[in-house]
Subunit: 455 residues, 3 copies
């Protein structure tokens, strides 16, 4: 893209630093790890922390008890920790019940999870809706222990499951319009870097970028635990949801894979078209998936009672890279270049949403004279006079009050950024005038009819 | 297909037996052969026989004189039958005038039809709308006779062409709705097994299957001579035709070829979509053809004054297998397995039409909790928990009052049978409620508007 | 195409003769060359010459001063013409200011244009909107002169730039309907044969063809200088433009390349569909381009304030053949066979527009009897009985008052010419009746509703 928006040259490094700062924290659906996470984000943007008490009803669900962990381990007969939560918080199955018991290897084995195909990796497991407990470890360590025979072990899970609250963060940038863009990312995973510290980091830096200037649209960022967090947020913001005109779930944005976009349930919402346009002009590989009712929190935003235009923006999609939900989803998997590229595309998406206005050619009969407008040498880009002139001709020809800049970008094949730039020149010369959205001609009507409405 | 409808394990054999019982009968557009045919069908289903007098006007046509044949032959000078109707009724051109004359070989030759490319086969020929006569024989026999030189022959066609009637059969299964499904097959061909005793047999066994339970839709089966029979039936049932919401012409359903479906003139009628869905999920080769105004009686049902949603369901299409309209279209060409497969698909089509209702998610905001519904181990199919859960998520996400189960099947790519099964579970749990057809939200409207109508 | 319209066997030769007669004339945006050109056309059709005074305002533009050239040359010190307008009018940059000066080679060089890649060709250059002058010559001649060193030359451009007028021609064939077909071609190029004497010649012979009979549609031919001519014409005919229902810009119609059609801005106008249909059935290669706001005068006709259904009909498109805008675009490049083929296709397009009526089957319920209509042996084409019957069946099946003959041609895949021929037979037999356009059933409505309107 020629007319890149400046998301900051160092943003890749800075986002990776943020991921690294968040990585050690033990997060879960609830608990202090989420609060610590939000506190770190406050170094960048003034995220507001919300607490929703355990037991609060949210549609078909209830906010669960709060879970906090002080320590967890398995000690052998010598007192040595053979599984140790302080070494990796993935060793503990999320939402495990407290345990303090001595048991035989054969009994303990029933509670252990490993990945035989990746013997050095610890899996990530949860037990959110079943009262149970479990431990995860590398298959290599499991085999070592298994070779020792049926010895006795002391299992300790020093966790509390108490009335408390579900914690989420929210940050909004009010625009001149009530129309909102929702950006959502999940904050409930322990030490997994790509899933989803990468999404959190991109969201934070996207917010910082957008905050630099007054915007037309209102932008709302939410940092929520997956599923129950989205359900709780929607239940508390049912009215506000009506203002959400576009939205993205950000997740898995730091790996080296190419970008994947999963469309909203609507399938042809403006967000869907904008993301496709940005990816088409990225000169990189990408994949567009149709909506399906599995995945991340787009499932909730796109439930039929809301049907919000919210898609999911990822690099390699969930479940399609081997390190997914394992200890190998670490700080090495997430690359500054990938984070920077994801941010750059997210910025382009938001700028396209922001700038997608509709204009009307003020001299619609035959071509207007363009000499003197400097469309050939403007912008210090003497190498590309034809592109600028092409853009001007397309804009003037198509701007009949029915087609927005995105419509024109799609029809002409020209990048939105170029059209936007030339639009500013043409509008400055009085050749294009913005059509207020309430006066836009529905496609198919003649612009003459709209002119009547205007007078 | 996992959730097969049970059309009976022995149905292939039983249908072939029925074809074999009907095979020897000499049928034509009119006459006793059709009556005998219908009488045999009455051993299976209570078909009602209708007689329409010769000369009855039906739109642009008239019911023809009734044609019956006692005997037909060519005898040589020794009195030996060299062409003999009692050996094969294909020897006589259908609707031939009576003849009793001695003539030379050179004169006789003008009335003979053969298939030089298939020298052992007797062709099937008709002369419905021209007063003439003719005989068909194998090209081998023709060459033998031709080698004998210009001998004298006695030609006898002992046929009557008299005021009588056109005979057709009808059988209906009244449903709880007035909406009808029309199933039509032609009964006018003599000893041709695939064309169309196969269609008759599948129709009869489909009727037997459907009769096992009370149905929502009304099913009407008609057994009619091609063209004039369809025209006559439509003329006598012009009002009733308004109730026909779906229909199939059944023909050529016993050969070993893959299934062919020719769409209705409408092209996107529900029957067209249902057949395509069933074939897509059949895990077999198939072909879908666009409508064209040639072929079987869909030509009449799809004439512009009716434009009924009636397609044509076949295996290898008419004219595309070499045995078509020859003595090689015999009991060997028709296979029990093919008949059974055709019936199985016809049953799946009818069950899909029958079950294609529209539901509304009763908890449309965010996902409903599914635990306790046994969607993971229900139906004794522990191997496929994910499929059941997928189906449930698709059903709940899409059931906004605008999409029927078929719509959801098409969008999700899941088989209708699976969705139907899971719908029953979800409806039983109060999560889905059927939307009466008069309250269905037109696509695009919000379900909220429909809720207002409901209250 | 079987049912060719007779555009005249000798038309290719006659059009080439016309191109040859026009070729020597020095044409420009204004001036006597255009008047001489129109005078020659008057030998074929009664073109009316219009003169629009310099300075006349046309939308965002003004009619320029009139430019006429008496002579132009560069003489060397010996007085020999080394560049000579009388040898080729391409030597002079169009709209050059008058010059009469002696200057050095190094000074002169600044005003010279050559084509190094094609050293024997003289380029065609214009300077319409900048006060300047220039000369064009072959690169070979340029190098010869350059080798002579910095000699002195006498440059003379004996041209006048005065208040005068812009000249264009117009010819109309009034039809029984006010609906108009616009045919436009540009007349402003000097000795360039394909661009656009070929377009002028095809337009003239198309007009002659159409004039042979009274037509339903009104046909208007305009012979105009590019851009300013189209703008001026539209400004003077703003009201009339509302009657233009179809239109073609004719250009580049004589080279050996295959046909290219550039769609109108509307993209799905009837003219777009008709041209595509004619090309599909031409049994030749062709290319269909989407509209883009560059090219010929379709830019003006398709400006958003007019948005007329006008496409551009060419062979090899502008800029895509090497001789484009050079002295090699001469009488050899233009071939009688290509001109004849372009005319034949243009005739087929106009006949399709002319004949694209809508009919209603008068016996819409079931098939009508066709025996006795001679559809099998009519037209002396006994080889193709099936094609005629196919056409009849398609016409009767589809003619429900919503589909025009073009619609039926597109759906059936049959050529319009065949359908038109069989329509005449069926209409003659009372089976099809034309539906007046104001009574056409909108697609989707039942024909019964229209019948109500008719009674």
């Amino acid at each position: 893209m020629t007319y890149r928006h400046d998301a900051g040259d160092k943003s890749g490094k800075e986002m990776h630093d943020l991921v690294a700062a968040l990585y050690p924290i033990h997060r879960s659906m609830t608990g202090n790890g989420v609060r610590q996470t939000l506190d770190i984000l406050k170094n960048h943007i003034p995220v507001q922390t919300h607490e929703v008490p355990s037991g609060t009803v949210a549609f078909d669900w209830q906010v669960p008890l709060e879970w906090n962990v002080a320590d967890a381990y398995v000690k052998d007969e010598s007192g040595a920790r053979v599984v140790d939560f302080t070494q990796s918080n993935l060793h503990l199955v999320s939402y495990s019940q407290p345990v303090d018991a001595v048991m035989s290897w054969s009994e303990l084995k029933e509670h252990l999870h490993t990945l035989p195909k990746h013997p050095d990796w610890i899996p990530y497991r949860t037990s959110h809706f079943k009262e149970s407990w479990g431990l995860c470890l590398s298959h290599r360590r499991f085999l070592e222990l298994d070779a020792l025979g049926d010895r006795s072990y002391h299992v300790r899970i020093d966790a509390t499951m108490t009335d408390g609250s579900l914690t989420y963060g929210e940050f909004s940038l009010p625009g001149t319009s009530r129309d909102e863009v929702l950006v959502s990312c999940h904050t409930c995973h322990p030490s997994l870097a790509n899933d989803n510290l990468s999404g959190i980091a991109v969201a934070v830096f996207l917010a910082k970028y957008l905050a630099r200037a007054q915007r037309r649209l209102t932008y709302r960022f939410i940092f929520i635990p997956a599923t129950i967090g989205a359900i709780t947020w929607l239940c508390r913001n049912e009215r506000r949801a009506e203002n959400i005109k576009h939205g993205l779930v950000l997740s898995l944005l730091g790996d080296a894979g190419s970008t994947t976009y999963k469309k909203s349930r609507q399938g042809d919402a403006k967000i869907d078209r904008v993301v496709e346009h940005v990816l088409q002009h990225s000169q990189q590989e990408y994949e567009i998936m149709d909506f399906e009712p599995t995945g991340y929190d787009e499932r909730q935003f796109c439930s039929p009672g809301f049907n919000l235009p919210v898609g999911c923006f990822m690099r390699t999609r969930n479940g399609y890279y081997p390190e997914y939900h394992t200890s190998a989803d670490n700080l090495d998997l997430v690359q500054p270049e990938s984070l920077a590229d994801s941010l750059q595309k997210a910025v382009a998406i938001m700028e396209t949403l922001e700038g997608d206005l509709t204009y009307r050619n003020q001299k619609p009969k035959c071509e207007a004279r363009l000499d003197g407008l400097g469309l050939y040498s403007a912008y210090g880009d003497a190498q590309r006079p034809e592109e600028l002139q092409q853009a001007a001709l397309w804009l003037l020809n198509m701007s009949d009050g029915t087609m927005s800049l995105l419509d024109i970008a799609e029809r002409s094949g020209l990048p939105f950024t170029l059209l936007k730039k030339v639009t500013d020149t043409l509008a400055g010369a009085g050749l294009l005038a913005e059509v207020p959205s309430q006066l836009r001609t529905p496609a198919g009507e003649k612009s003459a009819d709209v002119e009547k409405k205007l007078t």
